[in-house]
């Protein structure tokens, strides 16, 4: 069971700060939260980076999610 924590911007769409998801992979996790929260758009969510247990991943398509993982969606970061 992974814990997904939503940013304040995403909370506008989910109505809650966090949720527990039974998912072994990133794709499964996205499937489940976009089913659970109708306002979360799959394409938009999949454009975001994620942090899984503190590790920032910009292109997480093939990532697996651990049993007690904490998952945050965040804006992609660039730099100078």
């Amino acid at each position: 069971m992974a814990t997904v924590i939503f940013s304040s911007e995403l909370q506008r769409l989910t109505g809650e700060e966090k949720t527990i998801v039974d998912a072994g992979t990133y794709r499964e996790l996205v499937d489940k939260i976009t089913t659970r929260y109708k306002d979360l758009e799959r394409d938009e969510i999949m454009k975001m980076a994620v942090a899984i247990d503190g590790e920032i991943i910009h292109d997480p398509l093939l990532e697996s999610v651990g049993d007690n993982s904490e998952v945050h969606f965040l804006y992609r970061i660039s730099g100078g």
């Binding site: 924590i5 940013s7 304040s8 911007e9 506008r12 942090a51 503190g54 590790e55 920032i56 991943i57 910009h58 292109d59 904490e70 945050h72 969606f73 965040l74 804006y75 992609r76 970061i77 660039s78 730099g79 100078g80």
Partner: protein, 751 residues
């Protein structure tokens, strides 16, 4: 990650492999390539801040002897609004095209209108004066605060604010709004014993790289076109240029010259697509070089901001609430670093209640580009100034108040993840224990301390290591070397392969040689390209073991790699890398290792700086007396170049705090487009910059690397700002702290 590991090569202060060419003048930079038959391109630029182009007649210029081609916006294939990733993140293709060559309307002083290629630079310049342009001047808006007003002149009638709960029905100059929140901000302020709030102004500033933008190109209708240019990312130059001109990536070769500084400013394209158009139309190679005035007027400076911060604290210094409203100028097209500003502003602190609101606003100035930790210095300047004011009000040492609230392992950041081990507390302690912090100040001197945070990024890197028959290696990378990164790659490859560093030659290859590489930026190169180097080296070792196993007729699992030598654990036998490579023809052909990765797990980086400034009470002139820059590198691969990043970042920040600003006339014309009047720090302005390297390894990197390029520019604004405030007895809310501003503040000081 192996903390106990002892390194043989990493951590050495080796001579950089490209050093010889760079101290002898042999290294070739953006403007250094000439081709047979080459002609010169020049750009006509807007003399107005905001105007409609009512007439653009190039016929007289076209007839001028020696003119070979003219390019205008109409020469772009049909371009539509479309977000795509290149260089500094998401860019709108239509905005990019309209910035490179204006489409019927000019949006800032210096905005490119058309370009001419001619036999010589002088002829091209003459021909520019023959272009007949008429303008209908429109009202302009130069400041973020004015641009946000309801009745402000509009830059784009199709720009609608993104990020509002309801889609607005009227266009405005506010391109986007975002907010981040955590906890209960009202309760946080209710719990505070002291609350300080202030609004700060930071001006438009420029990266100030010494090398102007330059390129030499050759367009081939049927073959492969070529762009030679100075850029932080030639693969992204290829992506942007090919997209704009509708070319196949495989038909456009981009070669990164040596690069004479970038700091984020060379992460996008200006001249490259235009010169290709000129080359296509003339059938000649074309060279274009910006002059210094063009660099200031029409490349991508850093955002001016008006940032308001409010912080509440308990008497013991514990922060209870932090709030910010951050307004960033994007220049003429949307896309300021407001997002990273919001995400970094309070990250050095473990805070329960926070609320941050950010605005991305267009004004009649050049479109901003990335500048070293883009967005962070402006936001964190405001936060750190307020924290220093709270510390003073509460009578708490500024380092102690930061130690009390410092972000640490497990801190929930406002922007997303919980932090792993980070080095802020270690940096604060190193500064507190430094001789500098214990040294006494004299009359008219003040000290300032500030912390800074930057994320650092990972991203895509592709590296190939070709083993030569004599056992030496050629390391092929695709990250332009902006500050000595070839040396880091060499050391990391040597460490992994266990062969001497001087036997490894790193080269930066063009876009035809390697798969895609992300742009050098975001402090990613030593981190991400370094990871690709490690992976490629491991691939080499795997193959060397296989070859040795084949010679000994054992399995690869029975072979160890020790000190650059294969060791047979199932019997007798040792084969050095030199021997394996020499015999590679008989064991299956030559050996190439490959590492194509998308690096994740970039290490958040913190810095703490101490500035001592002396103020001349009669003139307002300031002088940096002593300066310390302390930062967590994770692991310093080449300590000299890590120190160099700290020192260089600190001095750019000192310039930002004390001297640098774009000065516009009432008509919106840039009045100081040169190094004489846009004054970056000189050798005579500065003391030595003490660099303290803290190493708290990044858990996600094999050597613990975090990336070091950007964070060092974040703390100086508030460290210097506070030092000046303390030295002069004034309240500082505006940069730069130039002598007239300091003098005026001293004369009216109530502090």
């Amino acid at each position: 990650m192996s903390e106990a590991r002892e390194y043989k090569y990493i951590g050495q202060r080796s001579i950089r492999p490209d050093g010889f060419d760079k101290v002898t003048g042999r290294a070739n930079y953006g403007a250094d390539l000439s081709l047979p038959g080459m002609i010169w391109g020049k750009v006509l630029r807007s003399p107005h801040a905001h105007a409609k182009i009512t007439k653009l007649d190039v016929s007289r210029a076209e007839q001028h002897p020696g003119v070979m081609a003219i390019a205008t916006y109409k020469d772009f294939p049909a371009v539509s609004s479309e977000a795509f990733e290149a260089g500094e993140g998401a860019t709108d293709l239509l905005d990019l095209a309209r910035n490179i060559l204006a489409d019927g309307k000019v949006l800032y002083d210096g905005h490119a209108i058309c370009a001419i290629a001619a036999l010589t630079e002088a002829i091209a310049d003459e021909a520019l004066s023959l272009i007949d342009v008429e303008y209908e001047i429109l009202p302009h808006v130069m400041d973020v605060r004015d641009a946000m007003k309801e009745d402000a002149p509009l830059l784009h009638d199709d720009l609608f604010t993104q990020g509002l709960p309801e889609q607005p029905d009227k266009p405005s100059n506010i391109a986007a709004r975002m907010e981040l929140k955590k906890g209960d901000i009202d309760q946080g302020f209710a719990d505070a014993d002291v609350i300080v709030e202030r609004e700060f102004y930071t001006p438009t500033i420029h990266q100030g790289y010494i090398e102007p933008h330059a390129c030499t190109v050759r367009y081939e209708e049927k073959g492969t076109s070529m762009v030679w240019c100075c850029t932080q990312g030639h693969f992204d130059v290829r992506a942007s240029t090919a997209k704009l001109l509708k070319m196949d990536l495989s038909k456009l070769k981009v070669v990164a010259s040596e690069i004479g500084g970038g700091f984020g400013g060379k992460t996008t394209v200006y001249l490259e697509p235009v010169s290709l158009i000129l080359s296509r139309k003339s059938g000649r190679p074309v060279k274009m070089v910006m002059d210094r005035e063009e660099v200031f007027r029409a490349s991508g400076p850093g955002s001016a901001t008006r940032n308001w911060v409010k912080i509440g604290a308990k008497k013991d210094g514990t922060f209870t609430a932090m709030q910010a409203r951050l307004c960033y100028e994007a220049g003429a097209f949307k896309g300021s670093p407001m997002g990273p500003g919001c995400m970094t502003v309070f990250t050095p602190y473990d805070i329960e209640n926070a609320y941050v609101e950010g605005f991305d606003v267009v004004v009649n100035k050049p479109k901003v580009a990335a500048y070293r930790a883009p967005g962070a210095p402006q936001a964190e300047f405001a936060a750190e100034m307020v924290i220093n004011e709270i510390a003073r009000e509460l009578g708490i040492d500024p380092i102690d108040i930061r130690l009390k609230n410092a972000a640490r392992e497990g801190t929930q950041t406002l922007y997303g993840p919980k932090l792993k081990a980070v080095g802020l507390i270690e940096c604060l302690e190193a500064c507190k224990n430094s001789d500098h912090y214990k040294a006494a100040l004299k009359d008219n001197q003040g000290r300032g301390v500030a912390a800074g945070f930057w994320f650092n990024i990972g991203g895509q890197s592709s590296v190939t290591i070709n083993m030569n028959p004599d056992g030496t290696a050629t390391l092929v990378e695709g990250s332009p070397d902006i500050g000595g990164s070839r040396a880091s790659m060499q050391l990391m490859a040597a460490e992994e392969l266990q062969i001497p560093a001087d036997k490894i030659t790193p080269i930066v290859a063009d876009t035809e040689v390697l798969a895609y590489n992300g742009t050098t930026g975001g402090s990613r190169t030593t981190f991400a390209t370094g990871m690709a180097v490690i992976e490629a080296a491991q691939d080499v070792i795997r193959q060397m073991k296989e070859r040795a196993a084949a010679v000994w007729n054992v399995t690869a699992e029975q072979v160890d790699w020790v000190d650059g030598t294969a060791v047979n654990t199932a019997g007798e036998g040792r084969l050095t890398a030199v021997e394996i490579c020499a015999g590679a023809d008989r064991t299956g052909g030559q050996i190439t290792g490959r590492g194509n990765i998308n690096a994740r797990g970039a290490g958040p980086s913190f810095a703490v700086h101490i500035a001592d400034i002396e103020v001349d009470r009669d003139t307002g002139r300031t002088r940096v007396i002593r300066y310390t820059a302390c930062q967590d590198a994770g692991k310093a691969i080449h300590p000299s170049y890590v120190e160099g990043q700290y020192q260089g970042g600190a001095v750019q920040g000192i310039g930002w705090a004390l001297n640098e600003e774009y000065i516009y006339s009432k008509d919106g014309i840039l009045e100081n487009p040169g190094f004489l009047d846009y004054r970056i720090p000189l050798a005579s302005d500065l003391p030595m910059i003490d660099a303290l390297i803290v190493e708290v390894p990044n858990a996600f990197h094999p050597f613990g690397v975090r990336g070091v390029g950007e964070t060092g520019i974040v703390p100086p604004l508030a460290a210097v700002g506070t030092a000046v405030a303390n030295a002069a007895g004034i309240t500082v809310t505006e940069l730069p702290l130039s002598p007239p501003r300091v003098l005026k503040a001293m004369q009216s000081s109530s502090r």
